[in-house]
């Protein structure tokens, strides 16, 4: 596998009506990168992912994905050219069955094909509940379904916004396990925003720390994620 840049972000700023959240972010993602973005609440981690997906419009800066400018591209097109995005909440259609959810995700086609089969094999909880309405799934099952849905299309970059928040330890490790096997099969780069660092540590090879809309650390030493004092320094925002 040759190394190349998948995503390039250059001095990106964005925000909401009366609030600037990202204050100039520059970031290159390589196709073997598995990045964890950490930082205190409200530092702009989720907004960074949402801006890349053009769910939050960027004010200045450029985003390019494999040589294509995407900062003004509609979200659905960004997805179709190969960026998968797992929303933090409300990431399945609760009123529809699991099967309908998956078929929407695979581009309104019936569930077949090698890729779909493999993804479903990775999530047996989903495969066994195709007829259940998604709203009746438990939190862990729902999150598995959401991840399966994102992976129904070919992706070369996967953005995950707090995939295991609110899951029990066992559900979380199960989900992470599935993600690992998918990663080795489909070889995509990934960016993951998550608080429970110990759970995701085995999956990442690069660590980015954000604070107040800026990147303050970018390192490949992922062991730092488990270093309490190092984290304290960057992370805790109420030193009273």
């Amino acid at each position: 596998m040759t190394l190349q840049n998948v995503l390039q972000v250059q001095s990106l700023t964005s925000g909401y009506r009366n609030r600037v959240v990202l204050q100039g972010i520059s970031l290159d993602v390589c196709n073997d990168n598995h990045i964890a973005i950490i930082g205190a609440n409200g530092c702009g981690k989720s907004t960074l992912l949402r801006t890349i997906m053009n769910l939050v419009p960027s004010t200045t800066g450029e985003i390019s994905f494999r040589e294509t400018q995407i900062e003004r591209m509609p979200t659905d097109q960004i997805v179709r050219i190969g960026i998968g995005y797992l929303k933090q909440t409300e990431n399945v259609f609760r009123q529809l069955s699991v099967r309908d959810n998956l078929s929407i995700a695979s581009g309104a086609k019936a569930l077949a094909g090698e890729r779909a089969e493999f993804v479903l094999d990775c999530f047996p909880v989903v495969r066994n509940r195709l007829k259940v309405r998604a709203g009746l799934l438990s939190g862990g099952q729902r999150q598995s379904l959401a991840l399966a849905m994102v992976l129904m299309r070919p992706v070369s970059l996967l953005l995950l916004d707090e995939p295991i928040a609110g899951l029990s330890p066992s559900a979380a490790s199960e989900l992470m396990h599935s993600l690992e096997s998918l990663k080795s099969r489909f070889s995509f780069a990934s960016v993951i925003v998550e608080h429970r660092l110990r759970r995701i540590e085995p999956l990442v090879n690069r660590l980015i720390v954000m604070r107040n809309g800026e990147i303050i650390d970018d390192t490949t030493d992922t062991q730092l994620m488990l270093d309490a004092s190092w984290l304290d320094e960057r992370y805790r925002h109420v030193p009273t």
Partner: protein
């Protein structure tokens, strides 16, 4: 490891006592028998992962939801099944997780609303007294006092929606002070605000407790809990798994695992 999994003794010494609360949504049990009490002058922190049932518990105790089973009393009188405004009239206040300042009212009006809502529920349910003229100067003065207590000192005519997130939280806190509640529920008071603002928030909450108010808060930020709370109640999957003084509970490895992911 946890050495004592015991719910707080639910005797009547607290101002707000709740016993054995159950709540399910459809086929998911969110609360499976939660008991505890809130004591005047004490800050009780509810910690635990998302989905542990903390917000649901708060909604039960502030009247926004009705429990399936269990009891809750304020000074010995039942509070379950009352609507939120009645409970507010009886001294239970709430800071919402998503703040909920009144966006198109001025900062001053936001606080005045809280003052008149409290007064008139007790004395006269319908009041046509002017807010801005004459006697209203008294109201405005009072409102300014509350605003200056939380640190607002300018722009009182600005609309709340134009404030930053942190300032909206401060405004909501001022509104809470203006309600002069005996028991307040704070749902993630410092989530999403800057360090500077959070540092301002802490002494205000402490002051509230020192004034004899029973404070309950939900918080994920453990440093914040350590610095503020007298009692910590750890919840997971709808039950209380640990409780006690802050330093004691937070030293338990499992609590750290559940709450911090560390």
């Amino acid at each position: 490891m946890i050495n004592s999994i015991s719910p707080l003794d639910a005797d009547n010494s607290g101002i707000l006592v709740f016993k054995d609360l159950h709540k399910r949504f459809g086929d998911i049990a969110v609360l499976k028998g939660v008991s505890g009490k809130l004591v005047p002058g004490q800050i009780s922190a509810f910690v635990g992962p998302n989905g542990a049932g903390k917000t649901t518990l708060f909604q039960l105790l502030t009247g926004e939801l009705k429990p399936d089973r269990g009891s809750a009393t304020l000074n010995g009188q039942n509070i379950l099944g009352s609507s939120p405004y009645r409970l507010a009239g009886r001294g239970i206040g709430k800071l919402f997780q998503d703040v909920r300042a009144f966006p198109n009212l001025s900062i001053l009006d936001n606080v005045i609303v809280a003052i008149v809502a409290r007064q008139s529920y007790r004395d006269k349910p319908f009041d046509f007294g002017l807010v801005r003229n004459g006697r209203s100067q008294v109201l405005a003065k009072k409102a300014r006092e509350y605003l200056s207590r939380v640190g607002f000192d300018a722009n009182e005519e600005a609309l709340a929606k134009n404030l930053s997130w942190g300032n909206q939280k401060l405004l909501a806190l001022a509104r809470l002070l203006a309600g002069e509640f005996r028991c307040v529920f704070l749902d993630e008071p410092i989530a999403g605000i800057s360090t500077l603002m959070a540092n301002r928030m802490v002494p205000l909450i402490r002051e509230l407790a020192e004034a004899g108010v029973a404070v309950a808060l939900i918080e994920h930020e453990i440093t914040f809990v350590e610095s503020l709370a007298n009692d910590v109640i750890v919840m997971n999957e709808g039950v209380v798994i640990d409780s006690g003084s802050a330093s004691e509970v937070l030293s338990h490895a499992e609590t750290r695992e559940i709450c911090l992911g560390l």
